[in-house]
Structure formats: C-alpha cells, structure tokens
Amino acid sequence: MTDVSIAAPNPGFEAPGPRDFQLRDVFFGNQLLLTKAALLLVLAAVIVFAFLYLTARKKALVPSKGQYLGEQAYDFVRTGIARDSIGDHDFAKYVPLLVTMFFFILVNNSFGLIPLLQFSPFSIAGFAYGLAGMVWIIYNAIGVQRHGLLGYLKLQCVPSGVPAWILPLLIPLEFMSNFLIRPVTLSLRLFANMFAGHLLLLLFATGGEYLLIHATGPTVLLKTAGVMSFVMGVAVGFLELIVAILQAYVFTLLTAQYISGSLAAEH
C-alpha cells in the first residue's frame, strides 16, 4: 500500500466534477435549450403520459395486468400521498398536480441508471429550482386564497397555543422556516441527491476505467482496485435506484404537506 504511484496523485487522471454536468447542446456548440437533459425531460414527460394514459384508457371493471399496474401506481399517489396528507375533503383537486409531480420526477431520476441515457436531469440545479419555485407559488397561493393574505401570514407565522412572550422569537423563525427555507431545502434535497449520485457513479466508472487501462504501476494491485471500483459502481447504482424513488416520493409528499398546511384551519 505504500506504493508511490498510487499514493501520489496520478497526473493522468482527472477526477469528475461539476464540469461534467455542463452538457453540450445537441446540435450546436453552446449550452442553451437542446441539451441532453432537456431532451430527457421531454422524454420523461412522454413516458409518464403514455404509461398513465394507456393504462387509464381501458376503464375495465376487472383490470388487465397493465391497467392494474397503472391503477396501483396512480392510487399510490392519489391515496398514499394526496389523501393521507390533505384529507378526504380537499385532496381530489390536487391529485393531478401530485400525480404529475411524482411520476415526472421518478422517471427523470431513473434515467440516471438507464444505459445510454445515464443522466438525471434534476442533477442540474435549475430544473430542481423550477419545480420547487412552482411548489412555493402554489402552496402560498392556496393559503392566501383560503385565508386571505393576513390570515394566511398569521396561520403560517403565529403558532396557536403558545405563550405571548415567546412570539417575538417564534414569528421570525416560523416565517423563515415556512417562506424562505422550504423552497431551498425542497430544491436542494432533490438536486444534491441526484448530483451526488451521478458524481459517485462517474467517479467509480471513470476511476475504474483509468485504473484498468491507463494507470501505470504494479499491475495486480491496479487491476484489483479497478475491478473493485466497478463493483462499487454497481453497488452505488442500486443505492441510486432507491434514492431516485425516495426523492420523487419525498418531493411529492412534502408538496402535499405544504398544501395541507396552507389549507389547515389551525396551525
């Protein structure tokens, strides 16, 4: 393990970094709209709509396998997320939003693990910001519409059943938490998970390739390390599968929770 060629940074290997997320335009040299990530977003939308539409279309009372699968997936969001968070009375209105959100993020995240595609669009911060900003506008608009501007501010910032002397401390905290921090954590959680996952996969894949092919040094040790690197890459791939599903679920669940909080009568 004291071998110099491994311990010292090898000048030939360039570790992957944020630069690898700067995608080229498909047709032109500059990075504007037609990047791989943008095309993946469109592909995800097409896949989500095709799956849900084709399974929903038959409307058979006794479903076929495909219809059953679609129904289960739809009902998971409808009942498991929307109804459980928002409650029987109001949830139906927000089912389309939450269903779209869950499956759109899920398919996009899973692109990171599909050969040839191998990139999660939400590892680009701008896309995550877009969705989180939209959620921020939606839940605040719902709250203002339901309670009026002042009523909504009071609902979000003044917790009920708290002694008056602590309010000067709590109101700024609640304001920060509900209006400023929520969209940041919502977007960064999704972005950072996808970003880090993709970076890890890149690292193990490029590192393994480098160790096996390009590195110079004691052959047996390098090849073993290279193989281990690929094995780790596969393991991280499975981990990423869980993360992809979990992040789609968490993002959608939090959106439902925020909407529910805006609809609530009491904080």
């Binding site: 500059n30 990075q31 709509f49 929903a56 219809q67 129904e71 269903v99 701008g126 896309f127 969705l131």
Partner: protein, 184 residues
C-alpha cells in the same frame, strides 16, 4: 451566469447557479404534462374507481335487498304458520266443546227419560195397587161373610148388624194394614 455557459477546462462551474432557461424549460414541460394528465388521465382513473365502487356497493345493496326479501318471506310464512296453528287449536277446542255439549245433552236427555219412565212406573204401580186394594176390599167382605156363614151355619147377609160388624172388621183390618205399612 453567462460565464458558466462555456465553462470548460480548468475553471470549475458552480453547480448551484442555474440558467433561467432551465427554470422556464422545466416549468413548460411540467405544465404541459400536468394539463395532459389532468385532462386525459385523472378523470379516466377516477371514473374507473367510481364505477368499480358502484359495482361493489350495488352488489352489496342487491344482496342486502335479497336478504331482506328472504327475511320478509320467512316472517310471512311463520306468521301464516302461527295463524294456521292457532286456527287448528281453535277448531280442536270447538270440537271438544261440541262433543262435551253433545255428551251433556245426551246425559240430560237420558236422565230425564229414565226419570220419566220411573215416574210412570211408580204411577202405574200406585194405580194398580189402589185398584187391587179396592177390589180386595169389595171381595174380602163377601169372602169373610161366606166364611162366617160356613162357620156359624146361618145366613146373615142382609142383616144390618152383620153389615156393621163387617164394616168394623174391615176398618180394623185397614188400620192394621196401615200400621203394618208404616212398620215396613
């Protein structure tokens, strides 16, 4: 932002800084998908769920209705059965009462008849007895006179004293007879 667009080589871009185009792009794509799902997917799934719920609840309702009908029929049948039983009991009671009444009637009739027969028999006996007594009373004088004539060898039949003696004898006889009757 523009400085990151062509970032490459040594300069590491900041991954947290977005492009405005990315935000717009994701919102447009999400929006289109949202409207498609809201218009074409959610109503169809909800319709399927509602139809399925109706089918199940309708089946349950139909089963409940059938059950209620069966229960009503059973209750009806049991009521009829109870009625029939009651009627049969009533008829039996009536028959028994009728039979008893007939037996009573017959008994009364028989008793009346027997009493009547006994009364008539007693009446006839009394008549016959008084007739016998009367006949005997007529003959006994004659017989006694004939007997006495034979004994004393004289004719006393038209003698007034003799008649008085006979009457006295007869009265005495009657008195003895009555005493004997009382004694018996």
């Amino acid at each position: 932002m523009a400085s990151f667009i062509f970032a490459a080589g040594d300069e590491e871009p900041n991954p947290l800084v977005p492009h405005l185009s990315e935000i717009i792009l994701v919102l447009v794509i999400f929006g289109i998908l949202f409207f498609l799902i809201r218009k074409f997917v959610v109503p169809q799934f909800e319709a399927t769920f509602a139809a399925r719920r109706d089918a199940i609840e309708g089946g349950i309702a139909r089963a409940e209705q059938a059950q209620a009908e069966a229960a009503a029929a059973l209750a009806n049948y049991q009521a009829q059965l109870a009625d029939a039983r009651g009627e049969a009991g009533q008829i039996r009671e009536e028959a028994r009462a009728e039979a008893q009444r007939i037996v009573e009637d017959l008994r009364t009739q028989a008793q009346t008849e027997s009493a009547r027969i006994i009364a008539r028999g007693e009446e006839q006996l009394a008549v016959q007895r008084s007739q016998v007594v009367r006949e005997l009373r007529g003959e006994i004088g004659t017989l006694a006179v004939e007997l006495a004539e034979k004994i004393v060898d004289q004719t006393l039949s038209d003698d007034v004293r003799v008649r008085a003696t006979v009457d006295e004898f007869l009265a005495d006889l009657q008195a003895r007879d009555a005493a004997a009757g009382a004694g018996a």
